[in-house]
């Protein structure tokens, strides 16, 4: 297949391979040095940065969890005082949700989606760079505030009026609310890029029914982000306005409503869980076939499950509010929807089991983590069914039962697949393999450590231990189990420590990996490890779901894209027929400056509403720099 080439200049049809690679490298690579790195808009460079930063936040959040476990090991312990503990559990939740889980999943999407759909860069690459810097600024804001004893202490859910002007003294709650704005801004930016990349930049022939499941899941996740995040950005902005300029959104005395906050927060907060979980579903569905040596069973039901879960996610928010005193009939609607989400979840599990059953499993580390995922996630899903019931929830809501439940879902359901994904794609990202031996140690420590840490929490919850307490009294029957949980958490953190050591060690001295070390079937394995800046020497053409298995020797490719300037292939939404060539932006430092200007405005606006007025000037300047037209006119063919 060829695309009509540009009028004159160099295309990828002409020269020999070496010459073509040289030209493409020259066109697509970033400059060396500090400013070259800052200006880079290569989706792989930015995604790697994102992943590393998110993993740093994971480690920091883990340290906070350990601190909490030390405090809770004994009744009435004085290791951490109440004020610091409240900051720590707020930081742990906010950090893990907003700075680790969502960003790391989106970062995986930024890295993998363009490679898996066979294009040269993500859509809106400068926005992508901007998004990273905004995310980093938000993370720094939160952690620096923690270092300064001004970290938010109102919980990651920041219920009004506790977070409101009267009861949240100082800037603590403002910092939380503005950190939300930072991270959601960056998440929204990536979501838009992913939707456009998936819908318009797929390789020719990759019609809707041939899209890899990971890409499907990222598409659904991105749509969820686009619909859910505005709710929380609205909520956090109105909270800041209540606190700073005296609006009355959450003040019942002036016609506001304290429950409005909860509705807005959970309208975002529940889809958030699926924003984290659905990419994990995609990872499992993509990694599993590689290690059982057969295509996934039930592609269509899995796609349906992804879409249905994504939509149903928006009808579950009230199940976080079962005890606020809404009409039982209205609440039972949410019981029905929450229960119904077990159907798509069940379909996913059954399809994976069927795939495992029919295949020949190769027990490498990624598969171990996938098995650990199934074991753990089924428990998390079933406890989810339990808390979906209004009466059941009235006993366990806001207890350690719920703490156990969502750690089973988030660690078991999302972090296990994520670790599997890191073991699986690490060779692609760095060109080196991770250690199989350390990986097995990490798996068993994490798997066993996780279950002994979190399973007893179910029992603690049923025994009446509420969440978010910094201590408990010695006469309550929770001491032994809490001590056991605290000791177990050491095992869990040991596992994570080995995992991190393995990453650092393998990055510098791992065994070199070839193009396709796992003999996998999707397009990202059809190029070098790590992929060259232009991803593919020529854009591949796809005619099956598992292109590298059906065409093991030579992928058919297109030609016709220019090699002397950055060009992408645009294809149609449903059938992925080639439609046009589109230029892709050059490197630029302007997104970096725009992010700094935005950060200044957002942080300043915690202190004065005038920040919105004066802070927008530098933003406008940086945006003008960003969009300034330069160089040759668009090639219109």
């Amino acid at each position: 297949m060829t695309i009509e080439p540009g009028r004159s200049a160099a295309t990828d049809a002409g020269p020999n391979e070496a010459e073509l690679e040289r030209r493409l490298t020259q066109t697509w690579s970033s400059q060396r040095g500090f400013w070259g790195a800052v200006a880079s808009v290569d989706h792989k460079v930015i995604a790697r940065r994102y992943i590393v930063t998110a993993l740093v936040f994971l480690a920091l959040g883990g340290l906070l969890a350990l601190a909490m476990r030390i405090q809770l090991a004994r009744p009435e312990a004085r290791f951490i005082d109440a004020d610091r503990y409240n900051q720590i559990f707020t930081m742990h939740g906010s950090n893990m949700m907003f700075l680790f889980a969502v960003p790391v999943m989106e970062a995986m999407a930024v890295y993998l989606v363009p490679l898996m759909v066979g294009t040269r860069n993500i859509a809106f690459p400068r926005l992508n760079a901007f998004s990273y810097w905004i995310f980093l600024a938000g993370g720094l804001l939160l952690w620096i505030s923690f270092a300064l004893d001004t970290a938010p202490d109102v919980g990651w859910f920041a219920y009004a009026p506790l977070s409101g002007p009267e009861y949240g003294a100082g800037k603590r709650a403002d910092i939380w609310a503005q950190m939300i704005t930072f991270t959601e801004l960056s998440a929204l930016a990536i979501a838009v890029e992913i939707v456009v990349t998936v819908l318009k930049q797929r390789a020719p022939g990759m019609s809707l029914d041939r899209i890899p499941l990971l890409v499907w899941s990222m598409l659904v996740m991105a749509s969820l982000v686009i619909m859910a995040m505005p709710a929380i950005m609205f909520a956090s902005s109105t909270l800041i306005m209540d606190r700073l300029v005296g609006t009355q959104f959450y003040n019942p005395a002036e016609g506001g409503d304290a429950l409005l906050w909860q509705h807005l927060f959970w309208f975002f907060g529940h889809p958030e869980v699926y924003i984290i979980f659905l990419p994990a579903v995609g990872m499992v569905s993509t990694i599993l076939p590689t290690f059982v040596r057969r295509p996934i069973f039930g592609y269509l039901p899995l796609v349906m499950a992804l879409i249905a879960t994504g939509v149903l996610a928006f009808g579950l928010w009230v199940h976080h509010m079962f005890v606020v005193g809404l009409p039982r009939l209205g609440e039972s609607f949410f019981t029905a929807s929450s229960m119904a989400i077990a159907i798509p979840a069940g379909i996913q599990i059954f399809c994976w089991l069927a795939t495992l059953w029919a295949g020949r499993p190769v027990f490498k580390v990624p598969l171990l983590f996938l098995i650990g995922f199934i074991v753990t996630f089924v428990i998390g899903g079933l406890t989810g069914v339990m808390v979906a019931s209004v009466p059941f929830d009235s006993q366990v809501h806001d207890t350690y039962f719920v703490v156990a439940h969502f750690h089973y879902v988030l660690i078991g359901g999302a972090v296990f697949p994520l670790i599997a994904a890191i073991y699986y794609w690490f060779p692609k990202m760095t060109g080196r393999m991770m250690s199989e031996r350390l990986g097995r140690w990490a798996f068993w420590l994490i798997f066993i450590g996780f279950h002994v840490t979190f399973f007893p929490m179910h029992i603690l919850g049923l025994q009446g231990m509420p969440r978010r307490i910094y201590t408990y009294q010695p006469d309550l029957p929770w001491g032994t189990l809490n001590l056991f949980v605290s000791l177990s958490s050491v095992v869990l953190s040991l596992g994570f420590l080995i995992f991190f050591i393995d990453i650092i060690r393998s990055w510098s001295s791992g065994r070199p990996a070839g193009e396709n070390p796992w003999n996998a079937s999707t397009l990202e394995w059809a190029t070098g490890s790590p992929p060259p800046p232009y991803n593919f020497r020529a854009i591949p053409v796809v005619d099956t779901r598992d292109p590298l298995w059906s065409q093991p020797d030579e992928l058919p490719v297109t030609s016709g894209l220019r090699s002397d300037r950055r060009e992408l292939l645009i294809s149609s939404v449903v059938e992925a027929l080639p439609e046009a060539r589109e230029s892709s932006p050059q490197d630029s430092v302007w997104p970096f400056w725009a992010a700094i200007a935005t950060s200044i405005m957002l942080i300043w606006s915690i202190f004065s509403p005038w920040a919105i007025v004066w802070g927008s000037v530098p933003i406008a300047v940086t945006l003008i720099g960003w969009f300034w037209p330069k160089g040759a006119a668009e090639d219109e063919s």
């Binding site: 009435e76 409240n86 202490d153 919980g155 219920y159 009026p161 506790l162 009861y167 019942p252 005395a253 304290a258 429950l259 057969r294 069973f297 039901p301 606020v324 005193g325 039982r328 039972s332 229960m339 077990a342 159907i343 069940g346 059954f350 069927a354 495992l356 059953w357 029919a358 295949g359 020949r360 098995i371 199934i374 089924v378 428990i379 079933l382 069914v385 339990m386 209004v390 009466p391 059941f392 929830d393 009235s394 006993q395 366990v396 809501h397 806001d398 207890t399 049923l462 025994q463 009446g464 509420p466 969440r467 978010r468 910094y470 201590t471 009294q473 010695p474 006469d475 309550l476 029957p477």
Partner: protein, 330 residues
């Protein structure tokens, strides 16, 4: 450390009732229904998990003699199995949902409760106001609720400041107290006993130390107790206690606390008219003894940092007299 040592004596108070705050040890009508629901759902879900695990282990370890099937035959077989599993899921989920709806129906309280109590939660203690048709017979208490066994008790839940949650797992499920709204919870204790409850919605600094006790007793002793609570504070008889009363009036105490029958009429802190009759002080933090009263008055900010009771400078004599007076307010 201090708090840990001071709190130890409570274990004596609680000894003998291990599940004093446990959803698994229900003593009330609603809680028993909820326990049954919990056990049924947990049992069914455990069976489901076991079934999935058996299939998983079988899928991983089964002997594979033939080439793995891209063959249509094995795919068709799997399609039937998967569809069957989905159908089973639909049935189980429907069953659980309908069962949950039935339990919700069963939790419905009676239309006409025997006792109605207004609960005003605040950072970080519970104010309980017993309302009577005759307002003169109203009285209030703090962090301790007496109810008659076997009678429908209705609590009207309001919040003074932020959101709290009223939860006594042994008697009923929880319900939030939300500023600007009133929620109503009805429950019935089936057996007499002492049940611990605790705020279940994060409400700020001392959320952990916001407990209360419900004492379910026979109708007769409940009436006796209520009658006693309606009386004004006991007049001191000994020299030490009357000196304590003078200290109470002269120092900052009276600005926040009420003792009916005296000039003290502050409303910011708990009503102390019958503090000597309560089992605990400081929202379930300490057992009510003269020693812990003295410890609490001397330094409330070390025992429960950040609560709203200030450190009032007192001489050791004043402290002794004041705690003796508090103890005498039976």
């Amino acid at each position: 450390m201090k708090a840990a040592r001071a709190a130890l004596p409570i274990s004596m108070l609680l000894s003998g009732c291990g599940g004093i705050q446990s959803a698994l040890d229900p003593q009330g009508h609603s809680a028993i229904l909820l326990r049954d629901l919990i056990l049924v759902i947990v049992a069914i879900c455990s069976l489901v998990w076991l079934a999935v695990m058996i299939v998983l282990v079988w899928a991983l370890l089964r002997r594979r003699d033939r080439e793995p099937g891209d063959g249509q035959g094995s795919d068709r077989g799997m399609r039937i199995w998967v569809s069957g599993a989905v159908a089973a899921t639909v049935l189980i989920i429907s069953g659980l949902t309908i069962g949950s709806f039935y339990t919700t129906r069963g939790l419905n309280g009676a239309k006409n409760p025997d006792v109605t109590i207004r609960v005003r939660a605040q950072q970080w203690w519970w104010q309980f106001i017993y309302e009577d048709t005759d307002p003169a017979r109203n009285f209030q208490t703090a962090n301790e609720l007496h109810i008659p066994v076997g009678k429908e008790v209705r609590v009207r839940l309001e919040s003074v400041d932020v959101i709290h949650s009223f939860w006594v797992p042994s008697l009923a499920g929880k319900l939030d107290l939300i500023p600007g709204r009133e929620n109503v919870l009805t429950f019935r204790a089936e057996r007499s006993g002492v049940y611990r409850g605790q705020c279940a919605e994060f409400c700020g600094l001392q959320h952990s130390h916001m407990a209360f006790f419900i004492i379910a007793e026979s109708e007769e002793s409940y009436r006796q107790w209520a009658g006693a609570q309606r009386q004004s504070g006991a007049e001191p008889v000994e020299a030490e206690t009357s000196a304590g009363k003078a200290v109470f009036a002269a120092r900052q105490c009276a600005a926040c606390h009420t003792i009916r029958g005296t000039a003290a009429a502050g409303t910011t802190g708990p009503d102390l008219t019958h503090i000597g009759s309560r089992r605990t002080i400081a929202a379930g933090l300490l057992e009510n003894t003269r020693g812990s009263l003295a410890a609490w008055i001397a330094d409330p900010q070390t025992l429960k940092p950040g609560n709203n009771m200030p450190i009032v400078p007192l001489s050791s004599d004043e402290l002794r007299q004041l705690s003796a007076y508090m103890e005498s307010l039976k």
